[in-house]
Symmetry: C2
Subunit: 235 residues, 2 copies
């Protein structure tokens, strides 16, 4: 059975935006897998992978890390399963979309979400994540967080071309979802799991699209409790 | 026979970046077509299309303008010919790529190229193009042109994800070229036709890719003389 390592926070929440891409990719391929949750600071648990980040999958003797490499591995290894890219042209263009999302979309979510993330993980993980993000951005999280409104506004603006893609079709990839859908889904699912703030405005055409992806694969995305739901259940 | 309206400048040069996308799309589909060159200010010649920009194609009774709409039309109308998008996923992701190029790539070429463009067209066309571009950017062309170095630098930087796409495959779309290749080609062909300045540095992995696309379809792109070639022939 395939295994997927992903991050776990308090109350067993699974908040890694990149691991959500992989989780939906595995479901898309109709592959059975077991989840191996790991805390952000527990580098010992994933040392076998030869690097220090999730997602990681193990498929028999093969260990693959990095969500994009995993998607390409799955596509090559399981060509008879539903395609993540819809062929070679789609593969190269999905790579472009993936690079765009990592560079233009995900960083815009760090200011509005990162303090929320820290509240969702154990103290030692919070310290680890803080130092990693502050190292990447070369600024204190509180400074980044002060730009949350501006940054969220940017995030919404940058989604404009994605809205055009779903103006004719129910999914970003067309009549059916594919990997590019899971890339954007991973961003919004991250927000849903760690924060009560709405990333999309109510009249955003992407809001019903997000609900559709939450429902896929017997509601795999929706079964993960949102921050809101966890707060209500604790109250 | 299909007809394609495109811009013509001095010495019969064909410099429209968007028309080059369409021209290669028609060649990709192995469709015979006749070129209908038109000068930038001659709106009378294209009034039949109900709008004022090229490219425009006429296919029997159908008239379609806007390079993206033309590509979608050709793909739908000629499904048995080689695909421009490689399927539905590829179509939606090519739309994203097209939007990205129009928003992030083409505007970066206006400061380094626009004064060169004016030198390649008749006076009345130059006046028309100047007023259109100055209207869009809300600045004088000379002001824009002062930023040519910075802007060209941005253009090259923004191509970084495209370079990743061709790190494994000869074309942006994989082993074979498809519409996303023609989008980037259109940008560089525009530069080649109107300017002697090199848009790509010599060691850029995109430089040999551009040569490959110039050679496609019996050298259709290369047969169009570069500014350099026109200057040498005039000397």
């Amino acid at each position: 059975m395939l295994e997927l390592w992903e991050l776990r926070g308090k109350n067993d929440c699974r908040y890694s935006t990149f691991s959500w891409r992989t989780r939906l990719a595995l479901l898309h391929k109709r592959l059975a897998f077991e989840l191996r949750p790991v805390s952000a600071s527990d580098k010992e648990a994933i040392r076998f992978s030869g690097q220090d980040k999730v997602p990681i999958i193990r498929d028999g003797a093969r260990v693959v890390s990095d969500s994009w490499k995993i998607a390409c591995f799955l596509e090559e290894q399981y060509p008879s399963r539903p395609s993540l890219f819809g062929g070679e042209v789609g593969r190269n263009l999905t790579q472009f979309f993936n690079l765009w999302a990592d560079r233009e979309l995900i960083p815009m979510l760090v200011p509005p979400l990162m303090l929320d993330v820290l509240a969702c993980v154990e103290d030692k993980d919070a310290a680890h994540l803080r130092s990693r993000i502050e190292g990447i951005f070369k600024r204190k999280l509180e400074e980044l967080s002060a730009e949350r409104t501006k940054s969220l506004d940017q995030f919404r603006k940058r989604l404009a071309p994605v809205r055009k893609m779903i103006s004719d079709t129910p999914f970003i990839c067309g009549r059916n979802p594919a990997y590019a859908d899971y890339i954007v889904f991973g961003a919004l699912q991250w927000a849903r799991v760690v924060s009560t703030e709405k990333m999309l405005q109510e009249d955003d055409i992407l809001a019903p699209w997000f609900e559709r992806v939450l429902d896929l694969y017997e509601g795999a995305g929706r079964r993960e409790r949102s921050r809101q739901e966890r707060m209500e259940q604790a109250a």
